[in-house]
């Protein structure tokens, strides 16, 4: 700590160069923050996916439907606690750009399956009493300025009404929230019984997929196999998998997001490493004589190495903290795309990794210049007038 003032003064020596390097580090960490948030969005809440939840869909594709009779058959299987249906509705609110997921569900069953979604008791009662009632996530309610009591029309793209109309009207009776930042608050849930009744007779009796709760998460694979076996050789064979695998499968449909993110971030940090390393290299080259003086008056090689590394780490930490700070503030403002990412936040885990990266960046960027300073003899350094 005794040398901190000297390190700080050295960092301020070339203000423009230091500022530009800091700005590049700030931008790198801001980008890191956004990529981490986008990763979360693309994972669609993988981190909160229930370990005890399975998703059962048609073996061929999620587009193919399953008979609603499967619910009772699955609930009879050993290891299954409950099963509840869900279907992709695919309605349009005002404009196709206003995309959000709409799902007909059995209210009590579904919310018991997803305890992370919290609906106030009075709103829950209202939902059970209102056939056309819908419960929406806080994010989507704020986005479209909906409040309880509003009537919302959706244009059906997949499921027309039995009267041939495509306009479905719903009454907002509740707004769900969650304490978990990774919970998806952009969904629109409405009652399955209302959905079923309004559909043409021939379209009834089919659901998109089932969510199944298992009694023991450690037996999830075994139960999945039992479910698939139960419906093997039937007209609608199933594919059961953990919710985590299901969500990851969705994300992988647009490529290996993790690998893409890692590649982009690696390129960014490698570039910043060169920028910061060049700054530190120049700084040491300009100060060779001063390093000679320090060594002459008694600074050890290791102390000089420590000071150069300290300067480099300070550079990385200041830039990194500023970048991470701006990222936290900016990302807390929500999804900048206005709805592409239902979940968009900067996870604490990634912030901690970012803090670690600020130090690592400084250490790696300063290593070569620091070693150069370490190896320099006082006599050689002083000779360079």
């Amino acid at each position: 700590m005794r040398f901190l003032y000297l390190i700080w003064c050295n960092l301020k020596r070339k203000k423009i160069r230091t500022t530009l390097t800091l700005l590049s580090i700030v931008v790198a960490f801001l980008l890191y923050g956004y990529l981490a948030a986008i990763q979360q969005g693309l994972d669609m809440g993988v981190s909160v996916a229930g370990a005890d939840r399975l998703v059962v869909r048609h073996k061929v594709s999620i587009i193919q439907t399953l008979p609603e009779s499967y619910e009772a058959r699955m609930e009879r299987l050993e290891g299954v606690v409950d099963a509840t249906p869900a279907t992709y509705f695919g309605g349009v609110y005002q404009d196709p750009i206003n995309f959000f997921a709409q799902t007909p569900v059995k209210p009590a069953e579904y919310l018991a399956m997803y305890p992370e979604f919290v609906v106030p008791p009075d709103q829950m009662r209202a939902w059970e009493e209102t056939r056309t009632g819908a419960v929406v996530g806080r994010t989507i309610a704020e986005r479209f300025e909906w409040s309880v009591g509003d009537r919302v029309p959706l244009q059906a793209t997949i499921w027309p009404r039995q009267d041939g109309g495509r306009t479905w009207e719903f009454d907002i009776v509740g707004i769900y929230d969650s304490e978990d930042p990774a919970a998806d608050l952009t969904q629109f849930f409405f009652r399955y019984d209302y959905f079923r009744e309004v559909l043409p007779e021939g379209a009834r009796g089919q659901v998109g997929w089932y969510v199944v709760r298992v009694s023991d998460p450690d037996r999830a694979v075994e139960v999945s196999n039992a479910i698939d076996a139960e419906f093997a050789n039937s007209p609608a064979e199933t594919r059961a998998e953990t919710e985590l695998a299901f969500v990851q499968g969705f994300a992988k449909q647009i490529g290996n997001i993790g690998a893409i993110m890692t590649a982009v971030l690696s390129a960014v940090f490698f570039t910043i490493l060169l920028v910061a390393g060049n700054t530190m290299g120049q700084a040491v080259r300009e100060r060779i004589q001063e390093i000679g003086v320090l060594k002459a008056i008694g600074f050890t090689h290791v102390q000089v190495l420590g000071m150069v590394l300290g300067e480099s780490v300070l550079l990385g930490v200041i830039g990194g903290l500023a970048g991470l700070g701006i990222a936290v503030v900016a990302i807390s403002g929500g999804d900048p795309t206005g709805g592409v990412f239902p979940i968009f936040f900067f996870p604490v885990r990634d912030i901690v990794i970012g803090l670690f990266l600020t130090v690592l960046l400084g250490l790696v960027a300063g290593m070569l210049p620091a070693l150069q300073a370490l190896r320099l003899s006082a006599v050689d350094a002083l000779r360079r007038q």
């Binding site: 000679g292 003086v293 102390q303 006599v379």
Partner: protein, 234 residues
């Protein structure tokens, strides 16, 4: 620093040889130099460029090691000390004064003087006291907050001397301390070195080209062809 031996000898160099490589060529700069400096003595080393004056100073200051021979300062065989110990030894026992002052431009005068004190266990208050004392000795108390670029050459050199004496070393090694100064400023620096020697008991070894500067020393030695002599070459 342990003081001089029983004979009052602080610095003893015996048979010191120092060679450097330049490509395939070996250049012998010091060829078996013997030197003894008494405690409290003001010694001037003279000689033409490349004669090895600075090399000898570096050996005495523990910045360099002889290829052969011994260098003993106040009873310590510094040619045998490992690098890390040698750095600590320099911090405690030697003050360096350079021709071009070599102050750190990002630090003000007081902070420059404080630099060697950062290597001691002194508290911040104690360091401040030491800095004030050193600056008052060189007559620059009122310039403590000034940065090097706002000081004249003579003032910068006085800050350099204050830095050299901040840890209260016995031995001051001065490499052309007046080489970058005009006569008036140079004389002031020589007065200061003289006072440090006479009034504060410092042992001063000064390398210089300037006969006027060397007149201030108790003894003048000349280096020629890697050897010391009391008289300059004819």
């Amino acid at each position: 620093m342990s003081e001089s031996n029983g004979d009052g000898i602080l610095v003893s160099v015996q048979g010191a040889r120092r060679e450097f490589s330049r490509g395939n060529e070996r250049i012998r700069v010091l060829d078996g130099v013997d030197l003894e400096v008494r405690s409290g003595e003001f010694l001037s080393l003279m000689g033409p460029s490349g004669s090895g004056k600075s090399t000898l100073l570096n050996l005495i200051g523990g910045l360099d090691r002889p290829n052969s021979g011994t260098v003993e300062v106040a009873g310590d065989r510094i040619d045998k000390l490992p690098d890390r110990k040698l750095a600590g030894w320099r911090a405690r026992h030697v003050g360096f004064v350079f021709q071009f002052y070599n102050l750190l431009p990002v630090l003000n005068a007081a902070r420059n003087v404080e630099l060697p004190l950062l290597l001691t266990p002194l508290s911040k208050a104690q360091r401040k006291q030491q800095v004030e004392t050193a600056l008052s000795i060189v007559g620059l108390t009122d310039r403590a907050r000034h940065y090097p670029k706002t000081l004249s050459g003579g003032e910068q050199q006085r800050v350099g001397i204050a830095r050299a004496i901040a840890t209260d070393p016995t031995l001051l090694l001065c490499d052309e301390p007046t080489g970058d100064l005009d006569r008036k400023a140079g004389d002031e620096i020589l007065d200061l070195l003289d006072a440090l020697c006479r009034d504060h008991g410092k042992t001063v070894i000064m390398v210089t080209h300037d006969p006027h500067a060397s007149e201030r020393a108790d003894r003048v030695l000349h280096l020629l062809d890697g050897l010391l002599a009391t008289e300059p070459a004819a």
